[in-house]
Structure formats: structure tokens, C-alpha cells
Symmetry: C2
Subunit: 222 residues, 2 copies
């Protein structure tokens, strides 16, 4: 790779890592806002999403320019297209964090989360930040072995998601339909967030190992 290409790719990589921090923090703070019915924090998360959007656009533009300026080799192109995809996934994860914050705002000064489900949502928030710390490390260091850790976090999010469903649908549920609907949607936001983190991790593996271009199917972990 030419030095110019590497330099610009390093800038893109740094920006993606910064995005993982913002997106992880957004989901954790969104969760905090939800649990504490903290309107100020919810508004801060909602406002911060614009910055994530701007960074995603910046990464896209840089990738676009890099392709037109450098006529990349297939190996180089795989990394640039992968970066484009990762930016889009992180941007969408930011939206999901914003959804959680908006849910908090919608029910303020109440909270959508019944007392007995607080610990589950708190763990969801912790996992959301943890999964992006790991994903960010993968992007920053090319350490593909971390993909297993990302998958482990996602498995745990999925297990919590199933647990929330079971709680809502149990005969013992006593919080009515509105809270059931809120919990269902919230839980789905975390589940999708975890799926996107897995797709980012897989994309990094493809970029680093030079495995055949895998396409969108892996991109859209369900």
C-alpha cells in the first residue's frame, strides 16, 4: 500500500474507534436515563446522536474519496468498503441508543422499567458499552481473536432479551399492556444493537484476514 493510502486509512480507523466510544457511551447513558428517569441525561443522549451521524458521514466521504483518489487494489478496497459498512452499522447503533433515550423521555417522570427488571436492563446497558469497547479494540488493533468476546457479549444480550420476553408474557406479569409494549420494544433495541456489534466484528475479521468478500448476509445478523 502506498504511504498516502495507509495514512488516510489510519485516520479513518481512528475515527471509527472514536465512534465506537461515543456509541457505547450513548447506549449506556441511554440506559441510565431510562432507569433513573433522568430527563437531562436522556436529552443529552438524543442531542449527541447528531455528532455520531456527522462522524459516520465524514468516514463515508473519506472512504469515497480514498477510492476515487487511489485506485485501490482488491485488498485495499476490501478494507475501505468494510470501513464504510462499519460506519453505517455504528450510525444505526447510535440511533438505537437514541431510541432508548427517547423512550425514557416519553414516559418521564415515570420509568418504563418495572423494579424487578431493573437489573436486567442495567446489565443490558453494561453489555452495550462492553461490546463496543471490544469492537473498538478490534478496529484499532486488528485483533481478530476478540470476535469471540463480542459474540459472547451478544449471546448474553440475547439471553437477557429472551428473559425479558418470558417475564412480559408470564401469567404473573402485573404491569399491564403499556409497560409490556415498552419493555418489548426496548429489549428489541438492545438485541439489534448486539447484532450490529457482531456484524462489525465479522467485518473486521474479513478486512484483516482477507477472507473472501462475504457480503451482506453476515452483515445482517438477526
Amino acid at each position: 500500500m502506498t504511504p498516502d493510502f495507509d495514512t488516510e486509512l489510519g485516520t479513518i480507523r481512528d475515527e471509527l474507534v472514536r465512534m465506537t466510544r461515543l456509541v457505547g457511551t450513548a447506549m449506556n447513558c441511554g440506559t441510565q436515563a431510562l432507569l433513573d428517569a433522568d430527563l437531562t441525561l436522556a436529552e443529552a443522549v438524543i442531542a449527541a446522536d447528531a455528532r455520531i451521524d456527522t462522524m459516520a458521514n465524514d468516514v463515508e466521504q473519506r472512504c469515497f474519496d480514498l477510492i476515487t483518489d487511489s485506485a485501490p487494489t482488491p485488498d485495499q478496497l476490501r478494507v475501505v468498503i468494510g470501513s464504510l459498512r462499519i460506519a453505517a452499522s455504528l450510525e444505526r447503533m447510535g440511533d438505537l441508543a437514541e431510541h432508548v433515550a427517547k423512550q425514557s423521555r416519553l414516559r418521564y417522570p415515570r420509568t418504563s422499567v418495572p423494579r424487578e427488571l431493573r437489573a436486567t436492563f442495567a446489565e443490558m446497558g453494561d453489555l452495550a458499552e462492553a461490546i463496543l469497547t471490544t469492537t473498538g479494540a478490534m478496529i484499532g488493533t486488528d485483533d481478530v481473536d476478540l470476535a469471540e468476546e463480542v459474540a459472547g457479549h451478544d449471546d448474553r444480550i440475547d439471553a437477557l432479551h429472551r428473559g425479558l420476553f418470558a417475564a412480559v408474557l408470564a401469567p404473573t406479569w402485573e404491569h399491564g399492556v403499556e409497560v409490556a409494549v415498552d419493555v418489548t420494544l426496548l429489549s428489541r433495541y438492545y438485541e439489534r444493537y448486539g447484532d450490529h456489534a457482531v456484524s462489525v466484528a465479522r467485518r473486521v475479521v474479513t478486512m484483516v484476514t482477507g477472507a473472501p468478500y462475504v457480503g451482506v448476509v453476515l452483515e445482517s445478523a438477526r
Copy 2:
């Protein structure tokens, strides 16, 4: 543009149009399976998603090869990257159709849709097919004026989505928590489906008009 580039781009375009037909049909058939508790149809929709995934991967590979083989100009690259994005959106819409079909299978031989909401879901299914017919026409003909029609269909889907929410949360709701949760998730699948259609339409406008590269923010209509 060189003839080779145009020829290959034409092939990609044709494949995207074919995908819009499959994805539109999948959502409409998924809706039918849901309303009729038709397990055979549900299984057919679920099985057909693999074909959509394969086509999306094929489009991606073609776009990837086209970039490395042709060193595209910025104008050309905008179209190729746009096609990549559209394939990813259509693939995801196929997943959402599959989710509807799986919901039908999950509750078989019952249906998740109470009698008084049948007409709403039937209209959602019709709109899902209609919005992709229009989106496919945009991709096939570069007729950017159709974007308004896509937006109109999406507005109608959003209105139905809000109506379903209102029905579920109304004091008169008499179908319990499980049906409420099912209807909530189903409704969200249609809403997201409409959002993706809008993002595809916007992407076509960008590709055709050569407006500045707009990035992921427009991509992720909420």
C-alpha cells in the same frame, strides 16, 4: 463511462429490480400467511429469503469487482456505492418479511392479528408491495419523481403503525399482553420496512442527480 462499465452496471441494476420484486412479494405473502394462519405460505416466505440473501451477495460482489476492475470516476463510483447500499437495504427488508412469516409460524394455528386489526395489517401488506413496486421502478428507470410516491406510501405505513399502537394501548384493548406484544413487534417490522424503502429511494435520487454524496444519515430514516 466505458461500454463495459455500463454493461455491468446494467446487469447490477436489473438484479436490484428483481430483488425489489422478490422482497415486495415476500412481505405481501408474509402478511397473507399472518392473516390466514397459512403455515405453508409462511414456510415458503422463510425459505425464499435465502434467495434474496444470495442475490444481495451477488450484487455486492459485482459492485466490488466493478470498482477494482474499472477504476471508476467519482460519478461512476457514486452509482456503484449506491447500488451496494441498496442491495444491503433490500436484503434487510427481506429479513423483515421473514420476521413476519416467522411470527405467523410461531402462533400457528392461531393468528396474532385480532379481527378488528385485520384490515390494517392487510393494508400494510399491500403498501409493502406497492412501495417496492415504486422503488423498483425508480431503480429501473431513474425516474426520481417517484420518490414522492415512495414517501407517500411510507407516510401511510407510519400512520397505520401509529394507529396500531393506539389500538394496543387503548383502555378498550381486550386481547391481553401476548397479542399486544405480537402486534407491537409486527407493526415495527412494517415501519422499518417502509423506512428502508425511503432510504433506497433517496439513494436512487443521489445516484441519478449527482447530488453531493449524502452519507449514512439519510440512509437510516427512522
